[in-house]
């Protein structure tokens, strides 16, 4: 039940991200969803979600640094999240912020430095989405 709902959330996040991108608004909702899932699922479930995210997000028939980081960041957070399991309400937004920051800095440092407002807008939207996704997953897990 939980993985099915998570997959549905991932599909919804993909849809909203690309729908907004069509209007020139960029939020990394898929990456955010994967980061939140790192706090709720086991390795193989995470691997499945990450691969699905890669399939949907990848825009060319080749590997790129963007896709590598897109897959690596959620898995890295999964590897580290065990130390902060009891404080997820705080660590999830921190993880989203750090994940997006690393993504921007490694992929496009000039873009980040020249237009920090774009990063802040992305972060704002992603944090709201991340908290929403976390709340849904938390409620499902509590049952």
């Amino acid at each position: 039940m939980r993985p099915a709902i998570a997959l549905l959330i991932l599909i919804l996040a993909s849809g909203i991200q690309f729908w907004l991108a069509g209007g020139g608004i960029f939020f990394n909702l898929v990456l955010t969803a994967l980061i939140v899932f790192a706090f709720f699922f086991d390795f193989w479930e995470m691997a499945l979600f990450v691969l699905f995210g890669v399939l949907v997000v990848n825009w060319q028939p080749a590997m790129s640094m963007e896709i590598f980081l897109f897959a690596f960041i959620p898995l890295l957070i999964f590897a580290l999240h065990g130390a902060f399991r009891s404080q997820r309400w705080v660590t999830v937004p921190i993880a989203i912020t750090c994940g997006l920051f690393v993504f921007y800095i490694v992929i496009a440092p000039h873009f980040f430095l020249n237009d920090p407002v774009a990063f802040l807008e992305d972060l704002f939207g992603s944090l709201i989405a991340g908290e929403l996704i976390f709340w849904v997953m938390y409620r499902i897990t509590k049952r």
Binding site: I11, S14, A21, G22, F52, N58, Q60, P61, I107, D122
Partner: protein, 226 residues
């Protein structure tokens, strides 16, 4: 580990392998999924068609009035392509199209939309190609403006700007901007001047552009053979 847990892991491994197969060998299924999610991008309306046609005619007129005799002969043959997917983040502006080296696409080819230059082929695979659009931050090319052919440098971005225009040039809103860069057929229309201003260092003039199309709604392009 319980039997149920083991069978779940086996199932998850199997699904991961299936997804890996699609990612590596059939990425187009992912693109189709994205197209399904994306907003319905209608093919340009009549207004956009008319505006694009107007810009194309203006560019042709500018060529005839000034430098027609110096125009290089253009190669014949165009390759029509569908836009498969778009760069999903906000660092670049790239398109993936459904034609590649098997159809004759080469790196550096000009990519047009309704007769207007929209980008350049950056990478080519067997049956797909990556196009860097003029809205990409790393896109730069020499251009000329209007009937008098004032020189400028197009700097790509979400709102492309032409810089390095000689101060005192009589560039006006509505002037057509056309390609004058190496590797591009001379005179390809790009857009129209929207507004002019002085550069931050006051040494040059600069001009913002307006386009008769929305790059996010482009679904088909034409790639010129080199």
């Amino acid at each position: 580990m319980t039997r149920e847990r083991k069978s779940n892991i086996v199932l998850l491994c199997g699904l991961c392998i299936v997804l890996l197969f699609f990612i590596i060998f059939a990425p187009s299924y992912g693109w189709k999924l994205r197209q399904f999610f994306s907003a319905s991008n209608a093919i340009s309306s009549d207004d956009q068609n008319i505006a694009a046609e107007n810009d194309t005619l203006k560019a042709e007129l500018a060529q005839v009035q000034t430098l027609q005799s110096e125009l290089p002969t253009s190669t014949s043959g165009d390759i029509r392509a569908m836009v498969y997917s778009r760069y999903p983040f906000n660092f670049k502006n790239e398109l993936t199209v459904n034609v590649g080296s098997d159809q004759g696409v080469a790196t550096g080819s000009a990519v047009l939309f309704q007769g207007m230059l929209v980008g350049q082929v950056q990478s080519v695979w067997h049956d797909s190609a990556l196009v860097q659009t003029i809205f990409d931050n790393d896109f730069k090319m020499p251009v000329r403006i209007g009937a008098k052919g004032y020189d400028g440098l197009l700097q790509g971005s979400l709102c492309p700007v032409i810089g390095s225009i000689t101060k005192g040039s009589l560039v006006s809103p509505g002037d057509i901007v056309y390609a004058a860069g190496l590797g591009f057929p001379y005179g390809l229309p790009i857009g129209e001047v929207d507004a002019t201003s002085t550069s931050a260092d006051s040494l040059f003039e600069q001009a913002s552009l307006r386009f008769p199309y929305d790059v996010n709604s482009i679904q088909t392009v034409v790639i010129q053979r080199q």
